[in-house]
């Protein structure tokens, strides 16, 4: 499998183009103790499983409620809020070699391991001054305390994956199916072309963007972030903590507890099905589907959209229970006037052919990006009878957006096939660059995620405006509904 990857060539070209060395980066430069300490610092829990409690003005809570990073920041520099200013606790700041005044106005010597432990457990600085009562007192095992102090000594000096002084490595996840190699190539090339343009303009805060695609295996070097046009089956290849700006997924993981790093551009199939359900007008509707869990979920999403007020009856049919011609007869006899179809290719075609024998077939709802039915081959009576939902549509691109992609395609001699995937991939890259620019030179992944969360109506020129928030991970929630108007006129956006 690995050997016949056409990507081999692609990867080589790309890596040649961006002749950057990442020799300085390794996965993690933290030692075992420091790594455990990092966990305590960031999450307030001990990898050893031992309890850590925080005491604050008489209240005792699990330290996971009050991890150090929530006040001092992941970088240790302090996050002032509401008049409370947690100190800069990077080792540099704590051990400044003079006995002068500190930022908080107190005077004390440089910290040592011992005095640092005392500050953490008893809230006293080296001179014995009581720290502000907002700084909790922590109780933890000796080993955990040692790990934490070990980590505090390197806090702020850790390397950030994919980041050097002069480069920023962005990866992409390609579709795993060998049939899609051409599409993968096109997607990689457009992202790469865009990054090359950015680099020619000086990069991002004096860092050049390096780019590495991967298909079925983890990236060779950890990337700072990933950009992807499809995100479905590649989840396992994403190293934990890596922000991913992705195109679309059939079922986006929008549970923020499970995923804070994943930013989708477009709505998933469930949202599309629900929008289709909302188009149901009244009378009787049949839901016809092959029973598997995926389609089952889509049927449920569709039903969620249906406003039951006017609907007389919703009848469900499993494709395995009826041959298409029988089912066509049943639908006619029951005077079904609307059908939501989620079958396999052959069944869908046979059923539509059968229903098309008569003059007025029912109105047909399809998920445009899911169905395998080639509507252009159906009998003419279907004209004006089929509504399809799509997550993106040509109409959302501006002249500027189209001009930009044409410019890139011509300048870098790229294919104009797979337009949709190209648009999504390029939009993802634009979004990522926009967010990186917002963060500035002092970069961390957490800040990138925060910047992405603060994206509001970003115009990529290719997709509808993209917005995220602390609760939102689907950039555009718009679902496009198009009507099939026959072979000549094709698909037209409904009002």
């Amino acid at each position: 499998m690995k050997d016949n990857l056409p990507l081999g060539i692609l990867r080589k070209t790309i890596l040649c183009l961006v002749a950057v060395s990442f020799a300085t980066i390794s996965w993690s430069q933290l030692g075992a103790s420091e790594e455990r300490g990092q966990d305590i610092f960031r999450k307030g829990t001990s990898p050893s499983g031992q309890k850590i409690v925080a005491l604050m003005s008489g209240a005792e809570v699990p330290a996971s409620v009050l991890p150090c990073s929530s006040c001092h920041g992941l970088d240790g520099k302090g996050r002032p809020e509401g008049g409370v200013s947690p100190s800069n606790i990077t080792w540099n700041a704590l051990t400044k070699g003079y006995n002068g005044k500190r930022s908080n106005g107190r005077t004390h010597n440089a910290y040592t391991s011992t005095t640092l432990k005392r500050a953490i457990s008893m809230g006293l600085d080296p001179a014995g001054n009581t720290l502000n009562s907002t700084m909790p007192h922590y109780q933890m095992s000796q080993q955990d305390m040692q790990d934490l102090v070990d980590y505090l000594k390197v806090l702020g000096q850790e390397s950030v994956p994919g980041l050097t002084d002069s480069t920023l490595l962005i990866g992409t996840l390609l579709r795993p199916e060998p049939q899609l190699d051409e599409m993968n190539q096109v997607v990689s090339e457009i992202i790469h072309a865009y990054f090359t343009e950015i680099n020619q303009q000086g990069g991002i805060f004096n860092r050049q963007l390096a780019f590495e695609p991967t298909q079925n295996e983890p990236l060779k070097q950890p990337a700072f972030a990933l950009v992807s046009s499809w995100l479905d089956q590649q989840q396992d290849l994403i190293p934990p903590g890596t922000p991913v700006v992705g195109g679309m997924a059939q079922f986006p993981e929008t549970d923020l507890a499970k995923n804070r790093q994943l930013f989708y551009l477009l709505p998933g199939l469930d949202q599309q099905a629900e929008t289709l359900g909302r188009q149901v007008k009244g009378g009787k509707i049949a839901l016809i589907y092959e029973s598997d869990t995926l389609r089952g979920e889509l049927i449920e999403a569709f039903k969620k959209g249906v406003r039951t007020a006017n609907v007389k009856e919703i009848i469900e049919f499993k494709t395995t229970d009826y041959p298409p011609e029988d089912l066509a007869g049943i639908l006619r006899k029951q005077q079904i006037n609307q059908v939501f179809l989620l079958g396999n290719a052959a069944f869908e075609k046979d059923l539509c052919d059968q229903l098309g024998i008569h003059d007025s077939p029912p109105e047909l709802f399809l998920l445009g990006s899911f169905t395998t039915l080639n509507i252009y081959e159906l009998p003419a009576v279907w004209q004006g009878k089929i509504i399809l939902a799509y997550p993106q549509w040509m109409s959302s691109a501006s002249d500027k957006g189209k001009a930009m992609i044409r410019y890139l395609q011509q300048k870098y001699n790229l294919s104009d096939r797979y337009q949709q995937s190209q648009w999504a991939a390029l939009s993802g890259a634009i979004l990522l660059v926009d967010a990186l620019k917002k963060v500035g030179r002092d970069l961390s992944r957490e800040q990138l995620v925060e910047a992405l969360e603060n994206t509001y109506r970003l115009e990529t020129g290719l997709l509808p405006p993209i917005s995220y928030s602390a609760n939102r991970r689907i950039g555009s929630e718009q679902v496009f509904l198009v009507k099939y108007l026959g072979v000549e006129r094709g698909l037209v956006l409904t009002e």
Binding site: S57, V61, P178, F370, M394, S396, Q419, E477, L491
Partner: protein, 388 residues
């Protein structure tokens, strides 16, 4: 490589999707002028709009509490005023993406809750956290946030439509245009009184509790020695609208805050106004009427105002138990009126005066029965919340 059936289907779909779009692009590459459906941004909550709400607000100390509906952490619509009505309240102001001061405030509130567990459990002390970032803080987010503290029931977290929440924050004088600059305040007080303070929400919970305890003291001293009152008022018998006999001191006055007005049925001047006012008080004080408060209307024309007539009249006014319309023998009525300092030889001469008294604390006030209801409520509340 093994390709599963779903993979193949998805694959085929994907290719067809690209084809359909490409074909479409060919045929309709100028359809960008089509109107696109409005982006379906979801509003955080469906709740009664402005127009559905009665435009009232309650004034307390330096605060003006608007009548707003919010969402609690379970996603239930709640009326803010209903949460605090008649209660001792401790509330802080948080948002879930605030990491430096909000978790300590949450921990503090949790600690306060365990210190005052009994009062919270009995519903005497209400603990609230109001989100100052309602756009981000959905009920689910608030629930997840509060669960970290393992606080259990008895702590209500509120969010809602941003304009409603802002209106409330402004009314409470805690609104900060920049949420990062919000101060770690805990607002502590007792609804219905002007006893409100702004404490440091980061102060030790035990210290916060010392502000709360005095507010929780029963407003009437227990074990009052009523001998003098009983001797003075006596237990002269009157008849209420249900035809039941009631003793003046024992059944009507003892332990209660009372509002007393004279009336007679054939009076067309001030009586309807005064009784209308009693009706408003009955509505305003709700559950307290009958329990803590007695509304007492005494007929000054007992010869004509028979219990049957009074009954019909009371029904027409919607009087419930706790608002007693009394009549009786002339002799008894006169004695009662005399004792209550409101005796008038002729019905027409009776004064438009309300007597408002707190029997346990022995505080008595007079009110002009024809004053605006808001004035009267103020006087009644000042007597009701008198602590002796």
């Amino acid at each position: 490589m093994q390709i599963s059936k779903t993979t193949t289907t998805i694959l085929a779909c994907l290719l067809l999707f690209q084809m359909a779009m490409a074909q479409h692009d060919h045929q309709h590459n100028t359809d960008q002028n089509h109107k696109t459906a409005a982006c379906c941004a979801k509003t955080p909550a469906d709740m009664p709009t402005c127009a559905d709400l009665p435009k009232t607000s309650v004034k307390m100390a330096d605060m003006q509490i608007p009548d707003v509906y919010l969402l609690d952490q379970q996603g239930e619509t709640v009326r803010f005023y209903d949460l605090i009505k008649g209660k001792v309240v401790a509330m802080n102001f948080i948002f879930t993406t605030c990491t430096t001061i909000c978790p300590p405030m949450g921990a503090n509130l949790t600690q306060l809750k365990s210190i005052m567990a009994e009062e919270v459990q009995q519903g005497d002390l209400v603990l609230l956290s109001i989100s100052i970032d309602p756009v981000t803080d959905t009920p689910q987010r608030l629930l997840a946030w509060s669960e970290k503290f393992e606080a259990g029931p008895g702590w209500t977290l509120l969010t809602g439509d941003k304009s409603r929440v802002d209106e409330l924050l402004k009314g409470l004088n805690v609104y900060a245009p920049l949420r990062e600059e919000h101060a770690p305040i805990m607002l502590i007080g007792k609804e219905g009184t002007d006893k409100w303070i702004r404490a440091n929400g980061l102060a030790p919970a035990e210290q916060l509790a010392t502000h709360i305890r005095p507010l929780l003291l029963p407003s009437k001293p227990v074990n009052v020695d009523y001998t003098a009152e009983e001797n003075y008022f006596t237990n002269v018998k009157l008849v209420n609208q249900y035809g039941e006999e009631m003793s003046l001191f024992e059944d009507l006055l003892k332990d209660k805050v009372v509002v007393i007005n004279p009336y007679f049925l054939s009076c067309t001047g001030s009586c309807p106004i005064m009784n209308g006012m009693m009706k408003d008080l009955q509505h305003y004080f709700g559950d307290k009427v009958g329990k803590d408060i007695h509304l007492i209307s005494i007929s000054v024309d007992p010869e004509h105002d028979s219990p049957e007539k009074v009954k019909a009249y009371a029904e027409s006014m919607g009087a419930k138990r706790g608002w007693y319309l009394l009549t009786g023998s002339r002799e008894n009525i006169d004695q009662a009126l005399w004792k209550l300092g409101n005796q008038s030889p002729r019905p027409e001469d009776h004064k438009n005066i309300l007597m408002v008294g707190n029997l346990p604390t022995r505080l008595w006030k007079k009110a002009n029965g024809l004053a605006p209801i808001t004035e009267i409520v103020k006087i009644v509340e000042s007597v009701l919340y008198d602590e002796g």
